[in-house]
Structure formats: C-alpha cells, structure tokens
Symmetry: C2
Subunit: 153 residues, 2 copies
C-alpha cells in the first residue's frame, strides 16, 4: 500500500476533462493562429456568420444565436465595424436596436475565415483518419450537449 499505486497525475491526465481542456486549447491556438492573418479571432467568425445568416439583425439576437455575452458582443462588433465588415445602423422601427448588416467586404472575409477555420480544423484532427474524424465529431457533439439528464419522472 505504500507503493506508487499508479501515478496519480497520469490518472488525471487520462481523464476526459483533462484531455478536453488540452484538445480545446490546441484548437483555440490553431484557430487563433489561422485567423490572425485576418486580424480577427474566433468570435468574430461566429458573429460574422450569424450576421450573414440572418440579414440585418439586432445585437441581442446575435448574442442569443452565438451564445456570446452582450458585453463581449460590443467589442466584437466594434472590431468588425472598424474593419468595415459590418454596418451598425440604428433600427428605425425600434430605436433601441442596432441593425447589424454584412458588407461586401464582410462577406468576403467570412469566406476567407471559413476556409482558414476548416484548414485549422483539419490540422486539429490531423492524427485521425477520415472515418475516425467522423466518429470523433459525432461523439464529441453528444458530449458537448448541455442536456438536462432528462429524468423520466
């Protein structure tokens, strides 16, 4: 009993939670490096995509779609607007809202970001075969879901 049982730290390193943190950090690093060429980061990509999907849309709606905090949304849109990828116009129908719309440059940037993002994700899963990538992504999606553990009762 006084022997090394088996290294406690190695056990921790084998935990899904630990591995998820490392893999996620690696992904963020890859994405960050890829997007740096555009001077943007991952949230910019998501917001740009949401704007592209939903035409002119209010900031609060963007926040709900992407899951970003309203506070952070301000900064993200400031960046996108300053870069000319997005316009922020007061909504005449509801003067509280800003109508966020995509510019032509924004659409172009979105395409470049999508490409860069895909490349980074390929590098991220580089160690896996195509079949394994599908398996992994499918399982990962289920793990990522924030389910309520739906009790039958």
């Amino acid at each position: 009993m006084t022997e090394p049982h088996e290294p406690a730290l190695d056990q921790i390193r084998a935990l899904p939670s630990w591995l998820l943190n490392r893999a996620s950090a690696r992904g963020r690093r890859l994405l960050s490096e890829a997007f740096a060429r555009e001077g943007l980061r991952m949230p910019h990509h998501a917001v740009l995509a949401a704007v592209a999907d939903s035409g002119p849309v209010a900031q609060a709606d963007l926040g709900r779609m992407t899951g970003f905090d309203p506070k952070d949304m301000v900064g993200i849109l400031n960046d996108l607007q300053r870069a000319g990828f997005v316009t922020r116009t007061p909504d005449p129908a509801d003067r509280r809202k800003n109508a966020i719309a995509l510019t032509a440059e924004g659409r172009g940037c979105l395409h470049r970001l999508a490409r860069l993002g895909d490349e980074a994700n390929e590098a991220l899963l580089g160690a896996l075969t195509p079949a394994e990538r599908e398996q992994f992504t499918a399982l990962l999606a289920r793990v990522a879901e924030e389910r309520e553990e739906g009790p039958v009762a």
Copy 2:
C-alpha cells in the same frame, strides 16, 4: 448563389474546434462544481497528485510536470499550504528551492478529489455508452497530443 447556401453559423457549430470548446467548458463547469465542495479547483487536484507521486519536490518541477505557469503555481501552493494539504520547506541542499511535501490531510483530500473528479467525468460522458466512452477518450487523447506533424524527411 444568393440563397442560404446553408447556415454559416451552423457550420461553425459543427466544427470540432467549436464542439471542443463547448465540451471543455462543460467539463470545467462540472469539475469546478464538484471540487467546490472541497474549496479547491482543478489545478489543485493536479498539483496535489503530482506531489503525491513525486514525494518532496520543487515548485519548478511541479510546474514542468503539470504544465502550469510558475506564476499560477505560487497561488495554487499558497492555497494548498493554507489548507494544510501541503508543506513548503526550504530545501537545505538548494536554498533556492522549496520542498513541497504532502501531508496526511493532503493525501486524504487527494483521494476525495479523485473520487469527485471521476464522478464529474462520468457525468460529462453521461450521454455515451461505456464502449463509446472508451472510443471517445482514445480518439480525444490523440487529438489532444501536440505532435510535430513529424515530416518523414
């Protein structure tokens, strides 16, 4: 070409990098909630485990083992020392070093943390069958690895 192609945001949400971020965040939340009962966090667990593995050991070595920044290590050890889980004694052989050693209470806490961590990880993978969990963890470990893409040449 002017039609919805397919929602750009949904594409992003399906990317492994996005899913990894969500899953990792969920894991951190679960771990954090579990460890809160001990007043500790995930890094404390890892450091405690490293100390348990490597007997009295210097802070810098702990940092190398766990991958934590020396700056953060200071705070983590302050917490563990204040809680009485660890002793920090100047190393007589090298007066620059602190010899970090595990106390009996520390060993007990480590066991409790290991248990809590395992439970949280089970909840994290709750949506997966045992076989899927093994598959997932194995694939995840390969994705998490920071390989050099070892070119043959």
